[in-house]
């Protein structure tokens, strides 16, 4: 394991780094525009989403070329653009983006695979009435994912991360009319939320400790030297440093997103979404976000490494990854849904990536991430093509013999399968898995992860052979005639198949270009690496793994064309193991009996409290106010109104009296006038008397 190279950001950002924000912004803007389009404007939606992502791909390639050029000249490229979002007191909340080898590689991968999946979706979703909505969500997803990739601020990363989670929810539940799809979307959202809570805690703690949200900030970022020293010196509980504790919290978030044990339950259910979604989200990008996150905060995970190069946080990552890899591979053996097999395979491969990160560093994990993204997207899209060709049938027992009906799909699917199995030399999956196994073999703490990963690899070859035998060999067991998919779907398959083979070139031991690029070292070509005994041993191990897995699988399932209703070959051999594997180790049932049962009970208690206690209190207060209102009404009618009425009566009577003088008879007035004058005169005379 190499010591990680700490990048020192260059002071001036290059022009491409300055406009890096356009890469996620374009698809997000496209998504916003599409959301305003009417349902029948399919062409506009297609052009917008694919055009924006093509533009992002172009920018990503320019950025990648820029980073490679800088690296070739021996200058580590790590350009950041930071700015203050807002400020309270003396604390600033900073956002920013970063262009370094890690982000540039991810950018190219996400935009390229994403673009192929977009194109594939044109064919796959052609008959769906909500075509524009689909592309709206896809674009938003792609934009958010690219936002995760370029973030230099853990806050910006978290925001994009949550948008990714939201779009994942929307896309899994795209066919929300199906109750199972709606439930799967909810499950995915809630399960990842469990991890995200820990992630958020980690962010808050990191912010509180280091006072900055930025990863790289000219030496003052949260994962640069100065902050890490402070974090290491700060003790947390159980004898762990704050760096380790924060690392573990962030890893919990990554585990939720990447389907690691014990938060993997949502990923198989997420297969309810349309197949391009499964390919885009649950193979190539979103689930890789967790792995990418660990790679991004790797200096934090690695801080305080001992001589062996490992830390408590990385040890946890390794064990979780290795367990997931084995666990999911076991379950995948006994599934019958073509997409579910691939889903468990994805979980298993994500376990490999995590283990690779824990054992061998950023480059090892990331290399598997990149190669896996290509061949797993290929497999998912191949599966989509098969499902499309078999009239929406997903049960592999009802397929069979499709190699003649769908030759192009078969050829590309076969390449993807061989890459996933890790067939030596010719396929990219071999080189990336090989690097992980090599690191595991050299791990100083324990050899157990190595054996777990090797056994997982055997199982991978086994279940993929089982699947491909069921689907493509033997005789067709379905009802309707199967047909090949349109060109718009098969062309992306062919392109991905090419990369599933070719990508291995950049990661061979003889020319470890990818690893050197990420670790910022010079890449040397040394053919001697192929002759080293350790590597030859690994090559031999890989051969044995592949031969064992494929051979065993072919013996049990190859070309036998079982009846659709007949029990599985493995089921006949060891029924009880089969039952356990088929029921996924009863994890869902376990959660149902513990967490969900507890929440149901708690909800019932809360409901009772609400109805009886709080509801009663509210009712009592209401009753009191009612009483008070009655009293007020009594006072009002009897006291206030009574007084008023009486006063009015008096005034009315007085007015009547006075009005009776006003009789309307002129002579009366004159009479009174005359009497008054007489009285006046009398008074005058009387008073002027001497």
């Amino acid at each position: 394991m190499q010591a990680a190279t700490l990048f020192t950001p260059q002071l001036a950002a290059s022009p491409i780094a300055k406009i890096l924000w356009l890469i996620p912004a374009m698809p997000i803007v496209a998504s916003g525009v599409i959301s305003l389009l009417k349902q029948p404007r399919r062409k506009a939606a297609t052009v917008l989403s694919i055009g924006s992502l093509s533009f992002s791909l172009l920018l990503s390639l320019i950025a990648f070329a820029h980073v490679v050029a800088g690296w070739a000249q021996g200058a580590a490229v790590c350009e950041t653009v930071n700015f203050t979002w807002f400020q309270f007191g003396s604390t600033t909340v900073d956002l920013g983006w970063v262009l370094d080898p890690l982000s540039s590689v991810m950018l190219v991968m996400v935009t390229f695979v994403g673009l192929l999946i977009f194109i594939y979706s044109i064919g796959y979703m052609a008959h769906d009435e909500n075509y524009t909505r689909f592309f709206c969500f896809l674009s938003l997803f792609a934009g958010a994912m690219l936002g995760v990739v370029i973030s230099n601020s853990i806050l910006l990363l978290f925001m994009s991360w949550e948008i990714v989670g939201l779009t994942s929810y929307l896309l899994i539940g795209f066919w929300y009319q199906k109750p199972s799809a709606a439930a799967a979307a909810k499950k995915a959202f809630l399960t990842t939320r469990v991890g995200d809570i820990f992630f958020l805690l980690g962010i808050v703690w990191l912010f509180a400790q280091t006072g900055t949200l930025l990863f790289y900030n000219h030496g003052a970022g949260s994962i640069e030297g100065w902050a890490l020293t402070g974090l290491l010196a700060q003790p947390a509980a159980l004898g762990l440093s704050a760096a380790t504790a924060i690392g573990l919290l962030i890893f919990a978030g990554a585990a939720g997103k990447s389907g690691q044990l014990p938060l993997h339950v949502w990923l198989p259910d997420a297969m309810e979404g349309p197949t391009p979604v499964s390919a885009l989200i649950h193979a190539a990008t979103m689930v890789a976000a967790g792995v990418y996150l660990i790679a991004r905060v790797y200096p934090l995970m690695q801080a305080g490494a001992l001589a062996g190069g490992t830390t408590p946080a990385l040890t946890v990552v390794t064990w979780v990854g290795a367990s997931t890899a084995l666990f999911a591979a076991l379950i995948a053996v006994a599934q019958n849904d073509i997409k579910r097999i691939l889903a468990y395979s994805t979980i298993s491969q994500l376990g490999y990536m995590m283990a690779g990160l824990g054992l061998g560093g950023v480059a090892v994990g990331m290399f598997h991430l990149i190669t896996h993204a290509f061949f797993k997207a290929l497999l998912f899209m191949g599966a989509g093509s098969v499902i499309h060709g078999c009239h929406e049938e997903q049960d592999i027992r009802k397929m069979g013999g499709l190699k003649s009906a769908m030759p192009l799909t078969f050829a590309t699917y076969g390449i993807g399968m061989l890459a996933l199995c890790g067939v030596p030399i010719f396929f990219s999956g071999f080189w990336s898995k090989d690097a992980i196994l090599e690191s595991a073999h050299g791990w100083p703490l324990s050899q157990a992860p190595f054996y777990m990963l090797v056994f997982g690899a055997v199982l991978t070859a086994f279940y993929m052979t089982r699947q491909i035998s069921y689907v493509f060999f033997g005789a067709y067991r379905g009802h309707n005639h199967a047909h090949e998919s349109p060109r718009v779907m098969t062309t992306p398959l062919a392109i991905l198949a090419f990369f599933a083979v070719a990508l291995g070139v950049i990661g061979t031991p003889a020319w470890p270009w990818f690893r050197a690029f990420l670790d910022n070292r010079a890449a040397d070509v040394s053919l001697h690496a192929f002759a080293e005994p350790a590597w030859l041993m690994l090559l031999l191990t890989s051969c044995v793994i592949v031969v064992l897995g494929i051979g065993f699988g072919w013996t049990l399932y190859g070309n036998k064309s079982p009846n659709a209703e007949a029990p599985d070959a493995l089921e006949r051999a060891v029924p009880w193991i089969w039952a356990v594997l088929r029921d996924k180790f009863y994890v869902d049932e376990f959660y149902g009996a513990t967490f969900i049962a507890f929440y149901e009970w708690w909800a019932r208690v809360a409901d009772w409290l609400d109805r009886r206690v709080w509801g009663g209190a509210v009712a009592a207060v209401t009753w009191l106010f009612g009483l008070w209102a009655q009293l007020n009404r009594f006072l009002d009618t009897n006291v206030v109104d009574g007084t008023f009425d009486k006063g009015c009566e008096e005034i009315s009577t007085g007015g009547g009296l006075l009005a009776s003088i006003q009789s309307g008879r002129v002579q009366n007035y004159l009479r009174i006038l005359a009497l008054a004058v007489v009285a006046l005169v009398a008074i005058l005379i009387w008073s002027s008397r001497p």
């Binding site: 009776s660 003088i661 006003q662 009789s663 309307g664 008879r665 002129v666 004159l670 009479r671």
Partner: protein, 103 residues
């Protein structure tokens, strides 16, 4: 008995007759005639006080009486006009029936 007192007595008599007429007659025209009598009683007083006052050469009392007669003529014209209007409206000149303005 001085001539002044006898004039004043006559004027008072005329005023009393006019007042009684205005108060007791029901016919509006006769009430108007009573009022005219009262006015003329006042005019008689003006003349008497002027004639037997300290400056009989200044003609002030005469002026007052002439003004008063002019005003009385106008008043009689307006009053008769009103009576005619009321008669046209109510077909009567009985003042006791003209009580629509009572409060």
């Amino acid at each position: 008995m001085t001539p002044l007192a006898s004039y004043l007595l006559v004027a008072a008599l005329v005023f009393a007759i006019g007042l009684a007429g205005a108060l007791v007659r029901r016919n509006a025209i006769l009430v108007l005639i009573g009022i005219e009598l009262m006015l003329n009683a006042a005019n008689l007083n003006f003349i008497a006080f002027w004639r037997y006052g300290p400056h009989p050469e200044a003609l002030t009392g005469m002026m007052f009486a002439i003004f008063s007669i002019a005003v009385a003529a106008a008043e009689a014209a307006v009053g008769l006009g009103l009576v005619i209007a009321i008669y046209r409206h109510a077909q009567t000149t009985d003042l006791d029936k003209m009580n629509r303005m009572k409060g």
